[in-house]
Amino acid sequence: MAGLEVRGASFTYRGVGGDVAALDGLHLAVADGEPIAVIGPSGCGKSTLLLLAAGLLSPSQGEVAVGGTPVAGPRLTTALIWQDFGLLPWKTVLANAALGLQVRRIGRVERLERARASLARVGLGEFEDAYPGELSGGMRQRLALARALALEADLLLMDEPLSALDALTREDLQDLLLELWLQRRHTSVLVTHSIEEAVYLGRRVIVLTPRPGRAAAEIDNPRMGEPGYRDTPEFYERCAELRHLLAAEGAVGGGPAVDGGPS
């Protein structure tokens, strides 16, 4: 069971130039096996939300629970996928895929077997001896996914995982993410800047307000995951709806989206 519950969580970064309230009393409930997308302007605390859910930060107020248990540190079957940094450039593709298992003290034979299986699943089976520096951006994110699969993660937290990719590679990987979810039915929280990506991969899309982050609005997207959804009129309607919601929050078309500290 890997439902995520965030109850009134607040988090403030203490910085040199003053404190920044990244999240303020955020409430969010993700059911076990539910894929949601989180979208919002820069500085709305999306990344902080994921760090809290991953157990890398503790909320200054409120509570975060996964599968009904309060999060007190990194959880064995939570996987966090980043836009970059997630891979270790000094380890081969195979060693990167197996890293989570190695940290968990899984024996070498089983570790490599599981890592190889998950590499094959994301189409990187032939690259196990390469280094991340030799891979394209899309392949790197496939590798990050393979690491999560090797962990048999039931909660996937993704922080703008595809935002550095070109449009074609991006759609390719969106399809892979969807396919994996359809097969595995893990709980999935995808933080993204892209409206289309949010609607394609989130059964619910949560809109966060800028600093401090709060859940401002939410759209239901029940047909997410149906074959060919990307080409249906309903998909475009959802995207338009989401764009209006974001405009109301000042994220698109509205005021300047300044990504800096408080002045």
């Binding site: 540190g73 980043w82 190695q102 280094y131």
Partner: protein, 252 residues
Amino acid sequence: MTGSLTRKLVGYLGAALVLLVGWQLLSWAVGSPALPGPLPALAAFVTSFATDLWPHLLSSARRVLAAIALGTVLAVPLGLVLGRSPRLDAVAAPMIFLTYPVPKVVFLPVLLILLGLGDTSKIVLITLIVFFQLLVTARDASRAIPPGSVLSVRSLGAGRADVFRHVVFPATLPDIFTALRIGTGTAVAVLFLAESIAGRTGLGYYIVDAWGRLSYDAMFAGIIGMALLGVALYEALEFAEARMCRWTRVGR
């Protein structure tokens, strides 16, 4: 692999040829017995090597290797820990800033008095020098590790030891090798100084002794020995780095 080895050998031979020709020209131009040409020097190197040179080369090599090993083993873990621990660093940093710029070689007389004229004083002096160069490098390199790399491994459930093993150590290794390479040059230079001042063993002694006897060919045989020692150390580090930091050589 063999291709790169051949290329390296050809490069070395070419460079050696250029140096030898330059040396010969310089020797002709200077016209002094203190600067013999490469041929008599190399001949002296070859003839003296088997008889009296190699024990000196061996003791020099032993000293510098012991000092580099000792300095590395002491400095790298300490530097990495300091770089990752702001609290320890706050205590240690002022001490490093005060002691690093002091030229360690000035302690040679003190070390000779306290530790005698044998291996110990020389090894301690070179260890000190290597230690500080590596300490500062390891500390700075481990501070510069992107926080994201550490967070990503911690998100997998890694504890402190895992973070060191999987992130801090491999991430800083290329910088440590660079510091080692620079430190090796300094180490051989200081070794010469220490050996030339005290004791009756080592290439430094051999060179200065030959100089005193006005035996310039033998002096240059010693100089060649010292140069070979430096090159061998440098190449050994190059080889180790190629093995341990393969990832830095991909995609170029």
